[in-house]
């Protein structure tokens, strides 16, 4: 019963999204694209964080590297753009695998801290390497293939890729691999005992999540046609963590919802005041106090049970 409703809901949301460029002004179309990109990024983080229990503090490195890889191939080489779109995710996942191999021996907070430091290393290289990455100016006016160059084109491209990615991640989460991952999160020792290769599973999860972060980075290049080093600065990573938290860790669509809430709020608040960070900090504190499971977690807690009871 609930499952059918969910499917209908997703279909309805998709149809509404398809109609967006026809009814909404350009700015809102751009905003929706951004929400989808950050939603995808937050969902990919949630794959390792919420489902895998790995403290991936600096997730934006893979996002930024994906964006830079796409941007560099589009501007500096004459390869077909399709290579650029593939290169972003590949670079994200390869870097994620490398960092994962170095960090995976550590647990919890140590993992997160080493990951942040390695990520900062990548950031420092991007920030300083003027001749290659443009340094702190970044790269502007990246030539995007004609079809995606308009706001609407970029929107449909982002919508398509995000939808496909979300379905794939959903499949991964509900596959035997995803279930094993959740088992590892809840009790790594027991999983090891029954013969699960914990490290291998975690590494695979990290690689997958890096891949989708790279996809999000590639989409950002298409939508925004710029890249800059802040894409892989650690504060952005924490903002993505906040999106996961606000939406709800242990829910699949939570991070996407969180990204929507945060980006919409930022747009609204920024029109009134320059102190968006202050507002975000207060919201964050309130959420941690009163909604530790996030908005979607709260809804599921309150109404999910009610629905189930009705079914019974």
């Amino acid at each position: 019963m609930v499952k059918v409703e969910k499917k209908k809901l997703i279909a309805a949301v998709l149809v509404i999204f398809l109609l967006f460029p026809l009814i909404l002004p350009r700015f809102y179309v751009y905003l929706t694209s951004l929400i989808m990109i950050y939603g995808l990024l937050a969902t990919s983080l949630n794959l390792v964080l919420g489902y895998g229990g790995i403290f991936q503090f600096h997730h934006c490195v893979f996002y930024g590297v994906g964006a830079y890889a796409t941007a560099l191939i589009l501007t500096k080489t004459s390869l077909h753009p399709i290579f650029a779109f593939i290169a972003g995710p590949i670079c994200g996942s390869v870097l994620s695998l490398i960092l994962g191999i170095v960090c995976i021996r550590l647990s919890k907070l140590y993992f997160g801290m080493l990951q942040i430091s390695l990520g900062s290393l990548v950031w420092a290289i991007v920030y300083r390497w003027y001749s290659f990455t443009g340094g702190d100016d970044g790269i502007h006016g990246i030539p995007i293939p004609e079809i995606f160059a308009s706001t609407n084109g970029a929107f449909y491209f982002a919508l398509m890729i995000t939808t496909v990615s979300m379905f794939v991640i959903y499949g991964i989460v509900n596959s035997p691999f995803g279930k094993t991952l959740q088992g590892i999160r809840d009790n790594p020792v027991r999983c090891e005992m029954i013969g699960v290769n914990v490290r291998l599973h975690q590494l695979l999860a990290l690689t997958i999540s890096g891949f989708f972060a790279g996809v999000a980075g590639m989409l950002f290049v298409v939508v925004d046609t710029t890249v800059f080093p802040e894409l892989l600065f650690w504060t952005l990573s924490l903002e993505v963590l906040i999106m996961c938290l606000v939406g709800g860790w242990f829910t699949f669509f939570g991070p996407m919802l969180g990204a929507g809430i945060i980006i919409l709020l930022r747009t609204v608040v920024s029109t009134y005041t320059v102190y968006w960070a202050l507002v975000l900090g207060i919201i964050l504190t309130l959420v941690i106090f009163f909604l530790p499971n996030g908005v979607l977690g709260f809804i599921e807690e309150k109404f999910g049970r009610g629905l189930k009871r009705e079914n019974v």
């Binding site: 975000l280 207060i282 941690i288």
Partner: protein, 293 residues
């Protein structure tokens, strides 16, 4: 590049080490006892620097202003952290690290914007007091700015006082015990919440002191918290969580690689400290010295 250039760069690195050590020892104290990865620590450091600016301006840039700021700025920061701790943090000690990390990040956002509201976005400078203007000649061509010499004296002094506090006072001993077994300390009739609160305030005092001391050597600006907090987290990690001597060693590694790195490879010198951290953690995943947890 002669030997004097290298030596003077080492001295610059050592003065940087002092600042890094003071800030990260506070962070380490909080991390070791309360187990809070306090991202807001960097913002308190920034707050210390801005308060030092205001106090020094109030005294018209006189030497007296510097000495008042030396005491007043860290105390003000400690007061702010005390309010934050009693109003918010004390209710959340039992939460997992990730929540605490995000909570303190939220506070760093709030502090950052409050500083922007009060002091604005321009660069501020704090004058070096007249006593410390000038140089001392260490060797033939080796000059050391007097203020850096002052820092090199303050650093070991703070380390010594901190060692006294942690190892010789009752408060310090209780806080160490509470770090190991919180429930047991509570069971023998000690108010653990207050011990935690006081340790937190002591750690934040050190952040304010670091900010105050660094103020005359740099231009005080928004965003000075972001680079520093990352550095001090790394220092704490490579030194061993909660270990104050570890923080000293970590700060030495960081400060020296930073200053030497800039000398030998100006473009990518910034990478050297991070590379050093990776090296250390590859061979010693839990830090160089024993961590408290």
């Amino acid at each position: 590049m002669d030997i004097y250039t290298i030596l003077s760069q080492v001295l610059v690195g050592l003065s940087r080490t002092v600042i890094l050590f003071i800030v990260s020892s506070g962070l380490s104290l909080i991390l070791g006892v309360l187990r809070i990865p306090n991202v807001a620590h960097g913002s308190l450091y920034m707050l210390g620097a801005y308060t030092a600016y205001t106090i020094s301006k109030f005294f018209g840039g006189q030497d007296l202003g510097f000495w008042v700021a030396l005491i007043g700025a860290p105390l003000f920061v400690a007061l702010v952290s005390f309010i934050a701790e009693r109003c918010v943090f004390q209710f959340l000690y039992e939460r997992e690290h990730l929540m605490l990390l995000l909570l303190t990040f939220g506070f760093s956002l709030i502090f950052g914007d409050l500083v922007k509201m009060v002091w604005g976005g321009e660069y501020k400078t704090v004058p070096v007091p007249k006593v410390f203007q000038g140089y001392i000649l260490l060797f033939r061509h080796l000059h050391l700015p007097l203020y850096n010499a002052f820092l090199l004296i303050i650093g070991p002094l703070v380390a010594f006082l901190l060692w006294l506090f942690v190892n010789k006072t009752k408060m310090g001993k209780i806080s160490r015990a509470a770090a190991v077994d919180r429930e047991m300390v509570g069971a023998v009739g000690i108010n653990v919440s207050w011990v935690f609160g006081m340790t937190f305030v002591a750690g934040c005092f050190l952040a304010g002191l670091g900010g105050m001391l660094v103020a005359p050597t740099i231009s005080v600006t928004l965003g000075m918290d972001h680079s520093l907090i990352m550095e001090s987290f790394l220092i704490v990690i490579i030194g061993g969580l909660g270990n104050i001597w570890g923080a000293l060693i970590g700060a030495l590694i960081f400060g020296l690689t930073q200053s030497i790195g800039i000398l030998i490879w100006p473009k990518f010198g910034i990478i050297l400290p991070y590379a050093a951290v990776v090296m250390v953690l590859t061979f010693k995943p839990k830090g160089l010295l024993k961590s408290t947890w």
